[in-house]
Symmetry: C2
Amino acid sequence: MSVGIRHDDLRRRNRAMVISAVRRAGQPSRTEIAATTGLSHSTISAISADLIQEGILTESKANEPTALKRGRPQIGLALNPEAAAVLTVVLSLNFLSVAVIDYAGQVIAEEQQRLDTLVMPRDELIGACMAIVRRRLQDPDLDVGSVARIAMGIQGITDSRARAMLWSPITPLTDIPFADILEKEFGIPATMENDCNMMAVALQWRDPERYRDDFIAILLSHGIGMGLVLKGALFTGTHSSGGEFGHMIHRPGGALCRCGRRGCVEAYAGNYAIWRSAMKMSEDAEPVDVGDADMRALAAKARQEDGPEREAYRRAGEALGFGLGSLFALIDPAPVAMVGVSAAAFDLIEPALREAIAQTAGGQHSKSISFDTEPNELPLIREGCAARALTFVDQEIFAPGGQARAGKHVA
Amino acid sequence: MSVGIRHDDLRRRNRAMVISAVRRAGQPSRTEIAATTGLSHSTISAISADLIQEGILTESKANEPTALKRGRPQIGLALNPEAAAVLTVVLSLNFLSVAVIDYAGQVIAEEQQRLDTLVMPRDELIGACMAIVRRRLQDPDLDVGSVARIAMGIQGITDSRARAMLWSPITPLTDIPFADILEKEFGIPATMENDCNMMAVALQWRDPERYRDDFIAILLSHGIGMGLVLKGALFTGTHSSGGEFGHMIHRPGGALCRCGRRGCVEAYAGNYAIWRSAMKMSEDAEPVDVGDADMRALAAKARQEDGPEREAYRRAGEALGFGLGSLFALIDPAPVAMVGVSAAAFDLIEPALREAIAQTAGGQHSKSISFDTEPNELPLIREGCAARALTFVDQEIFAPGGQARAGKHVA
DNA sequence: AGGCTTTTTTTCGAGCCTCAAAAAAATAGT
DNA sequence: ACTATTTTTTTGAGGCTCGAAAAAAAGCCT
């Protein structure tokens, strides 16, 4: 079952510790690292000397602001931006976006493109992704050899090993092993991530104070998605990316969902569901795509006067509230971040949501559950992919393989 | 955040590895342990020599059945039953049960008692628990000093740190810090565990083949409870024992639940709900206690002829099915074990359950989801407590504290 | 029976890793 | 210029695991 700890694992793990401490803290001194990791000063000193020698960390004497202290001044350690780079690919409805990010987390190149994901055949869709990645990698301004990892994000369901897209609303195609395809094409390790999971990772990355151990990111867009962080770690299903909050059952046998079933939360709270309800269409009506502009207009109308529009948002709030209540029954309440175009209409959703959640076991302290909104999901997804890819690089560089490679370079 | 691995942790962890390998495998040889843990023979040899010297393991030459092999015969290693003992306390409705279990997992003493949990005041309830534990600990046949851990199990909600009972259906009392009380009273480390979590632990312990990485134990009794194992580890809420499957919302605003809210799964599938429905009582009727014998009679009636009884079980199945569907949307499908008196009526529940689950996103492969039944929950809960307590002992004996104690004894 | 083969277990030296303490380095204050 | 203070590096000691070789304990074969 579980495997023992080998002697050489120890150094590897503690190197990982140091790197991640630097990544989190920005420019910590060796002393600070020793304090946060609980390792001794000598160990930190030895490890950081190695990492500097291998070009992974750099000393940045610029620690002026904290001057005016007695004693030998601290030497800040920082990630060497040139140590490596990662590439992110975000594929969303009719839109493809790629970015190259240096080891310190700065975007150094990007490219975006429109495309008709809904109608593209398999080869074309894959081809378009490969082409844009290739263009970025072959950019003469970029040291191609340094791209150490690709992270691709997509709306829909991925497998729990982050290798393949299993299903996505942006295309009728299924089971595309993007990670394998990218690795074969470019010889660079790659993963295929779920968009909502990356949103959660990005929130943790952006604001570790607020989003640390337990929180929920909910995408309120055409569909309803969720990224869940429990006890500090991303929660995924046992086989798939999991967390299909939008397809929990709100009303058995109820409104028609995009997934073909009935009564899902999404069938009441997805853009198409709000639209359908506001237009007084039947709950059995086929889901249709609604543009962001139309949704914003709908929200404006709902704010203006009481009517079917406002009622539609109320119903969405109710569905989300009961869904969250059921979720909270399982995992206990946690802070929620609402992301996506309908998060901008959260003022219309919140009252009914809170009312519903208060009627559930998980909502005992519904007053104290905090909601945050972020209307724009794409930057979050990209940031999450970058964070994930960089974390992988962190874990590869200190691994024997990475170490050997660096060593050879030095010799 | 996370902490580095100290040098001395290494040995401690590898000792843990060896002990747990022995506990799982029964009587493995050193060579087998080396294979399963991935550590070298020399390391295993050194560690097991220590453990034998400290009286934690014993060599059991009796490995006759696998004779007829060339070479030096393997020497089986076994847990020394006298190395320690643990005590389990299971408090359920009107019933209190205590057992003493040796380090190898055998019950060496037990005692049971009826009591009116529903009406006992706080002091009496706590007093009754302490008294029965004290009687067992003071039993002259028992070496008191060797009881190293107490695990108490209770139906209801406990905190995620396994210290206190927060709420329980067996008593109107709330927030009883049983773990602290036991520790203060007897000076033995104690934990307060949730009954359904212990059921899951026991299943994993009993049949590791079937219940290994991902499975669900559902208690079908007066209330509906759940124990969840994901990726090999017990899943708990962030603050409480979590997994309140019975209080996921099945029908917003629906039938009255024992928790005072409306539409919970339990309000359709708990014993009282099935009874209420079979008796054609209102969904708003106050939940009443129904004895196990009455429930068995009800099931017999339902099997005999189509009528309100059969319909009641059908509704229970429907509620459980939609609830499981929502759960599976979050975590992906997994095998389910149904435990408790109504598990004996699972034949009446299953058809509607499968029909409901097939209508949900999580039930895509509803045919392949396996259900197992076990009508008697109490033995499972006790076994789970024993397993949990022994695991704690395993992790304490190899820790510096435990090691020092053993060393002193040897010297 | 005695030697050979096979398998398990133990022993031993080498190589790392971490730690504590001491030394060195760098700066502020006097 | 000197001292106090704080950070960083160095050094020696102690532990841990590993691989290889030796020892141990059988069965097998002549």
